[in-house]
């Protein structure tokens, strides 16, 4: 107890001591944003098991270690050594240890603006105002009307300490050809922490696909990274947001996406999570405009002693909105997986259609899965449903395949792949191949 409160104080101290490293403090609104966030974090501390949203996470790892948020890294990387940009990729932003080191792009059509957070803070801070949200904004409103900020203390920490990020701004009616990639590479000192804060803003009737590609670190140190992305999809616009999350056995990655959807807008998110360490992806979608729709697809794969976690919260705030969630979890060896999904239908959000389907596949004796699909319905003219299953490979299917001459390993692989395919098949052609590779890599391990 004393230890963790000591550690909490060290973050507070570190925030006060390292202000020169935190961009934008000269702007009063950024300063307030960061100050409020560290105050909130100082008050709440790291979440523990009593926080509903974190009850599967081994919170001790977070609260017992001080991860230096301001430690400089001496690692460098030769940009040429990085694999080449995909031909379908229009713009690629390369991060190393939380900071942008390069932006590559082809000839850019008009109306597509991509740059670093630091650039925007210097040259166009007004654009960011209100788009980087305060951590408070995403506090959980409990059914008992209690506002609980504890689940968001990592976001608070991110809001206080973020050093860089990517800003994507798509103008009205612009359809981005290909996709935009945010590639995150890392090679960090032991016990350090990196916070990345990005903003994606799609103006009216625009269309865009973004890939957030989080690679495992080159070295294997205990490192905590947090990516928070604030997304605003304006009227009639459509965003496809794809996350590939990998990690080393000692990496802890926490990923938050907060999405606000205006009238007639569309949001499709696909996350492939496959870390050897701990990876947690949170997706919070607020359907604020009529006829907006959200689709969340998640595929998590766990091996060794890894922990993959996924949390979704889809909030239907107005009439005639629609949401879909498909979650697939494949766990082998000693891995653990967790899915907490929530559909919330606010008072007056009549005509809501919401659906959630979660399936977990346990491949080993020691794998463990936790699943909590939740419905909070406060309007009556709705159609909401969820279905969740947990099980192992279907013995009958396996037998059938083997009776046709397919060796057991191959048969298993086939079935495991088909289990995940419902997610993979939903990925745009731009990224399908890469998604498949990520997936195949994993099931090959079963050979």
């Amino acid at each position: 107890m004393t230890n963790s409160s000591n550690i909490k104080n060290r973050y507070y101290q570190s925030y006060n001591d390292n202000q020169s490293l935190l961009p934008g403090l000269e702007l009063s609104w950024i300063k307030r944003l960061r100050d409020d966030a560290i105050t909130q974090f100082n008050q709440d501390g790291f979440p523990d098991k009593n926080v509903e949203e974190w009850n599967v996470h081994p919170c001790k790892g977070l609260s017992d270690t001080f991860y230096d948020p301001c430690q400089e890294n001496n690692y460098e990387i030769d940009v040429k050594s990085i694999e080449k940009k995909d031909s379908n990729c229009l713009i690629r932003v390369i991060f190393l240890n939380g900071k942008v080191i390069n932006i590559e792009h082809d000839t850019l059509p008009a109306g597509i603006k991509v740059n670093t957070l630091s650039f925007y803070l210097k040259n166009n801070p007004e654009f960011l105002k209100g788009k980087i949200k305060s951590a408070n904004e995403y506090s959980e409103v409990r059914l008992s009307n209690i506002i609980d900020s504890r689940p968001q203390s990592i976001v608070a920490l991110n809001t206080a300490f973020h050093e860089d990020g990517a800003i994507i701004h798509i103008d009205k009616n612009i359809e981005v050809p290909g996709f935009i990639e945010l590639l995150h590479l890392g090679e960090c000192e032991e016990n350090t922490m990196k916070h990345i804060r990005s903003v994606i803003f799609l103006d009216k009737a625009s269309k865009c696909e973004v890939l957030e590609n989080i690679k495992q670190h080159k070295n294997n140190n205990v490192v905590f990274t947090s990516n928070v992305t604030d997304v605003h999809v304006s009227e009639g616009a459509s965003l496809s947001f794809v996350r590939f999350i990998e990690g080393n056995s000692k990496n802890l990655h926490i990923n938050n996406v907060h999405v606000q959807l205006d009238k007639d807008s569309k949001f499709i998110s696909t996350s492939l999570i496959n870390s050897k360490g701990q990876a947690r992806a949170e997706t919070r979608v607020n359907l604020l405009g009529e006829n907006s729709s959200s689709k969340i697809n998640i595929l998590m794969m766990g091996t060794n002693n890894s922990l993959q976690e996924s949390l979704t919260k889809v909030k239907h705030s107005t009439k005639n909105t629609k949401s879909d969630q498909i979650i697939r979890i494949i766990l082998d060896e000693n891995s653990r997986g967790s899915f907490q999904g929530k559909i919330r239908v606010d008072v007056g959000a009549d005509g809501t259609l919401a659906n959630m389907s979660g399936k977990s596949l346990l491949l080993s004796d020691n794998a463990r899965v936790n699943s909590k699909p939740e419905l909070e319905i406060l309007a009556d003219d709705v159609r909401c449903s969820h279905g969740v299953t947990v099980g192992s490979l279907n013995a009958e299917q396996l037998f059938y395949l083997r009776s046709r001459g397919i060796p057991e390993n191959e048969a298993r692989k086939l079935l495991i792949n088909s289990f995940g395919n419902v997610i993979i098949n939903n990925i745009s052609t731009n990224l399908a191949k890469r998604a498949k590779n990520l997936m195949l890599e994993d099931s090959n391990k079963n050979d």
Binding site: E52, R368, V369, L375, I377, D380, V382, R383, G387
Partner: protein, 492 residues
């Protein structure tokens, strides 16, 4: 929509006057208000208990003192702080102090109370002592002390013990000692600890090896004296190869003060034994503004200790201002089966957070959960359930189906299932839907000649059918009656 308004009106009209809201005028013997070690001793001595039980109670009391009142933060219920020193912990009908030996000695006032409650004629006849008029044995608990036990002789021929737990403590101390607190430990939760310290009385059932209890055992609990915390304790043991079906039903007189109810029910099924436990609960839910009404914080748990054992909970919950209740099953024996069938209605300002826990420990264990939640008025209804597959639960299976029906714009229906699987050969499947009664359905029924209230009742009954059909016949009728009272004027 106009139809919604009609529905809401129908519901309001049906629930405006709590049918069973009257107070029986009986002198009640109270222990002084508040809770202390002395009160625990007082309750124990009132029941003439042996030393070991007093020790057990005191142990629970000292543990309770150390427990912080952790009202579950996760539960979707809220209520003002309860002052535990401002309640009575013991009340017994005075006329019953000498424990009547026959039914003739029963206070006529009590019998007439049952009459007003609409207890089926047959059961009243039994209460009146007309033996042979039916096959339901009633151990009626008036407030906390049992006042009448029927069919005792018929049951005792088979070696079945069905009596107040206070009596069982004296006559069958070994059984009570062995099993009391073995399923719900004293420190399981705040209210279970409180119950262990101050429980006044309750039912005890023991079914010997290989015996099929020939009748449904039935107990009516009610809360009568004002501001009396009710802490019943029920213990049911089904020895190897036995079977018992137990029915519990409740109504309560109208009161203005919130009353706390913190019962503990423990079921133990040994090898090849089966226990069916059905509850129809219709406590006073408070008025339209949520004033008054019962707080129902109950711990109900069954242990399938033996192989091939089976425990099933069926509940129809229409009452209480606040319900916090999760009848659960620990599936310890291989091939054991746990079932939970529930209908819960929240109307007006009622809040209910109810569900079950199925803890699979043994191999080939199987559980089924069917929950139907209905919210109307400003009611808030949450299904909260846990299915856990422990590492040894090979080939265990669970199926859960949780459906919510919403009537009106101001209510809420919530589903919070927790699934935790540590065994790869175990299978869990959970499904849930939320919907409302469609205007089309209402129009269709009305076009065939049903008035709006009848139409709603019919549709709600259809919605709950899977659960209602699990109730014993006698009880199913009563359950339908309670659904009517809660939502409707009449059910077709």
């Amino acid at each position: 929509m106009a139809i919604d308004t009609e529905t809401i009106n129908a519901v309001e009209k049906a629930t405006k006057d709590y049918k069973y809201g009257f107070v029986t005028d009986i002198e009640t013997e109270f222990a002084p208000k508040g809770l202390s070690e002395d009160i625990v001793r007082y309750i124990s001595s009132k029941n003439d208990e042996p030393e070991w039980l007093l020790e057990w109670r005191l142990q629970a009391y000292s543990k309770w003192l150390k427990m912080t009142k952790e009202d579950p933060k996760w539960a979707n219920i809220h209520f003002p702080e309860i002052d535990f020193q401002d309640a009575y912990y013991y009340a017994a009908p005075k006329t019953d102090a000498e424990k009547p030996k026959s039914l003739d000695e029963i206070d006529p006032e009590i019998l007439s109370t049952y009459n007003k409650l609409g207890i089926p004629i047959r059961e009243q006849e039994m209460l009146a002592g007309i033996v042979g008029s039916g096959n339901v044995a009633v151990d009626a608990v008036f407030d906390s002390v049992s006042v009448a036990t029927t069919f005792k002789s018929k049951l005792s021929e088979l070696g079945i013990i069905f009596c107040p737990i206070s009596e069982a403590v004296k006559k069958h101390p070994d059984l009570v000692k062995k099993y009391l607190g073995s399923v719900v430990p004293q420190t399981d939760n705040f209210y279970a600890a409180l119950n262990s310290a101050v429980y006044s009385d309750g039912s005890f059932v023991y079914i010997p090896k290989g015996v099929r209890c020939p009748m449904d055992l039935s107990t009516y609990f009610r809360i009568n004296a004002a501001e009396t915390g009710q802490f019943e304790r029920t213990l049911i043991i089904a020895d190897k190869g036995s079977f018992v079906s137990y029915l519990e039903g409740c109504t309560a007189p109208m009161r203005d003060e919130n009353q706390l109810h913190g019962a503990v029910v423990e079921l133990i099924a040994l090898d090849d034994a089966e226990i069916k436990y059905a509850t129809v609960q219709n406590w006073y839910p408070g008025d339209e503004n949520g004033k008054g009404g019962i707080y129902n914080f109950v711990t109900k748990r069954g242990a399938c200790r033996g192989k091939n054992s089976r425990i099933s909970w069926t509940q129809v919950e229409t009452g209480s201002a606040i319900t916090w209740k999760y009848p659960s099953v620990l599936l310890q024996g291989d091939n054991s089966v746990g079932e939970f069938y529930s209908v819960a209605i929240s109307n007006n300002k009622q809040q209910a957070d109810t569900g079950t826990k199925m803890i699979h420990i043994g191999r080939n264990t199987k559980s089924t959960i069917i929950s139907k939640g209905i919210s109307a008025g400003y009611g808030q209804q949450t299904y909260r359930g846990l299915v856990r597959m422990q590492a040894g639960a090979e080939n265990a299976t669970n199926f859960s189906q949780c459906d919510s029906l919403l009537i009106g714009n101001n209510c809420g229906g919530h589903t919070v299932p927790y699934i935790d699987s540590k065994n790869f050969s175990a299978e869990v499947a959970h499904e849930a839907t939320t919907s409302k009664i469609s205007d089309e359905q209402l129009f269709y029924c009305q076009q065939r000649g049903l008035n709006p209230e009848e139409a709603v009742a019919l549709i709600v009954n259809g919605f709950c059918k899977e659960v209602l059909k699990k109730l014993p016949m006698e009880f199913a009728v009563e359950a339908q009656k309670l659904l009517e009272v809660s939502l409707e004027g009449s059910v077709g």
